[in-house]
Homo-oligomer: 193 residues x 2
Amino acid sequence: MALTAKGRATRQRIIEGAAAYLRSDDPAGVTLDDIRAITGTSKGQIFHYFPDGKEELFLAVARYEAGRVLDDQQPHLGALTTWSAWERWRDAVIARYHAQGRNCPLGALMSQVGSTPGAAEVVTSLLNRWQFHVKEGIEEMQDTGLVRPDVNADRVAAAFIAGIQGGVQVLRSTGSIAHLEASLDTLIDHLRS
Amino acid sequence: MALTAKGRATRQRIIEGAAAYLRSDDPAGVTLDDIRAITGTSKGQIFHYFPDGKEELFLAVARYEAGRVLDDQQPHLGALTTWSAWERWRDAVIARYHAQGRNCPLGALMSQVGSTPGAAEVVTSLLNRWQFHVKEGIEEMQDTGLVRPDVNADRVAAAFIAGIQGGVQVLRSTGSIAHLEASLDTLIDHLRS
DNA sequence: ACCACAGTGGACCGGGCGGTCCAGAAAACC
DNA sequence: GGTTTTCTGGACCGCCCGGTCCACTGTGGT
């Protein structure tokens, strides 16, 4: 499939329109017709740009959203070298999910696309990169003596990832961001001790 | 709707059959016909016992599964009074989810039933009870001097809940139980410090 | 100017699935 | 034993929605 400039623009419009829709509406039951209407396109176009249909489109949207997740945490996530950087990162994460409220675009995608290999790969890759940055941050703090050297950086980084995921899930279910805050604060406390 | 003994038995058979099916199969796309086939019943019976159809049935299954979640952690969860009790609890949680693998019945239900008020209530109630037990455990440890008194018991309990939820979610996505272990171990370490 | 191919619109199809309906079997009640 | 209520089976309906198809319209290259 060779794409012209116009084609690329349309394809992108579909992805971004679908992402915006997912970010603002009920996760359950997002239909191709919805996306068609939102993006001002037609069935023909959707299947022209995503020949494998719904799954391929949703995977593209998932990849797009996965990129945004880490971007929204920059530049803090990439330079966790001081305690104040950790605090700013904490605030950025909370602000992001607070703004998003109970609509987690990635979560919505995942519950739709189910457990296809492609979906698993997107999530795994995102979590790996995320955890890597946190681990790097902890190790740098250890290098400068701000965190005790006997802390297992990778294990605590994994705890951070789990805590954030769980906090977001609780936010989605109950609407309360307290668990996300508690998780981040407790783990940062742990590093400080 | 007045139920005879036979009726109650059939109703229960439907719930338990559906729960077993959910526990062992692809979350996405569980259909009433599947449940009908598994439980050896008929459409008429399903709508006889669950007049509001799919949503009512799935909510009943969710309530049933929510009960099991805490039961599977007993008696450890109810008596977190020594470090070895915490270790046994940790092991019970990990064993439970290790056995369950990537099939989280409650998670599957939630992604199907979406974000109806009833579903939110089931999850909220489960998480509250769960967190309460953990908080009680921390406070008892503080009373006996095993945990420092300046630890915010409720906040750390919330971090536990978030960490467990996130760990399970990572398990569902990636198949790795490492995050659940890391989360529990790190938080218990934190209490010990 | 022409042609090949990308882009676009929308009618149409077919299966899946939640839900309805009713008729007959089985209990329960008097 | 008769009548009323509950229980059971399964045929049937209708919509929703993913996917197909094809005709038409740009657009870019030579």
